[in-house]
């Protein structure tokens, strides 16, 4: 398994250890050889990726931005909040 340094850092952070500590070495050695951990981690990554992509599909409507600027009186001071 290709070791994911960023993830290892997170796991070690979670444990309160730095990357060169003994607990991190144990994790590193395990992850380099464990296909089960790899599958688990990949599923977590895909979960996050799916949600991020779904978020990108939802753009803020122009009308909402216009209403916001009107509400804040940043476009025309005579206007008030409305939807």
């Amino acid at each position: 398994m290709k070791l994911d340094e960023e993830l290892l850092r997170e796991i070690c952070e979670y444990m309160g250890s730095d990357l060169n500590s003994a607990p991190c070495k144990i994790i590193r050695d395990h992850m380099e050889a464990c296909p089960n951990c790899e599958v688990y981690i990949n599923k977590i990554k895909k979960t996050i990726e799916i949600y991020r992509l779904a978020d990108q599909c939802e753009e803020i409507p122009d009308k909402v931005t216009r209403n916001l600027l009107t509400c804040l009186k940043l476009d025309d001071p005579s206007q008030t909040c409305k939807k």
Binding site: P35, K46, E49, D55, I60, P61, L72, K83
Partner: protein, 196 residues
């Protein structure tokens, strides 16, 4: 207003009542705050309400921003408070569920249950996105908020902790549980989607 001004300068001008600087801050952050509200509540109308209330507070209180934290941390904290208040004012859509740590016995057999092949284009389907929304809405707020800030908005553990006023350890534990819950349920969803 020059578009390449550092944020500290824009904030300083906004504090003096510079309308262009205030508009710039609104435009810089409106998309993120709208998405925060949308993920938190699952409703476009509520997201718009949260957006407006957040920036109304920002304009009113920007003089109180002392620069002890970054501007976005300060703004996100306002938005999160507004959003959580909004959630509390509405009847809960789903029964409260309690989340546990991952079942590590099960993790050890993950390899036997690979996810079905899927194309990321599936997220372009509004019906699929609706299902994703329903899933995240089932997460209790204390987990949902952490997942939104850390994984969807890419905030650090430290900033997330400051915004939610919880310890970094709590942030990490909540994130782990939220990710695990979503992974487990997304797996079921994808398997159902891929069935002929």
């Amino acid at each position: 207003m020059e578009s390449n001004l550092p944020e500290e300068e824009i904030v300083a001008r906004a504090k003096k009542g510079d309308q262009a600087a205030l508009s710039q801050l609104v435009l810089n952050y409106s998309d993120r705050i709208y998405h925060l509200g949308l993920r938190l509540t699952g409703s476009h109308q509520d997201a718009e309400d949260i957006l407006q209330e957040t920036f109304l507070i920002m304009v009113k209180k920007i003089n109180q921003f002392q620069g002890k934290s970054s501007f976005y941390t300060w703004l996100y904290r306002i938005a999160m408070n507004v959003g959580l208040r909004k959630l509390k004012s509405k009847p809960r859509k789903y029964e409260h569920i309690s989340l546990d740590d991952p079942d590590f016995e099960r993790v050890s057999s993950e390899a036997a249950s690979e996810w079905p092949d899927f194309d990321y284009d599936i997220v372009n389907d509004p019906l699929f996105r609706q299902k994703l929304d329903r899933l995240i809405e089932r997460l209790p707020e204390k987990y949902r908020t952490v997942f939104i800030l850390r994984d969807l908005h890419g905030l650090s553990t430290e900033d997330t902790s400051r915004i939610l006023q919880i310890t970094p350890s709590n942030t990490k534990i909540r994130l782990m549980r939220a990710r695990n819950f979503l992974k487990e349920n997304l797996e079921k969803m994808l398997k159902a989607e891929m069935q002929p």
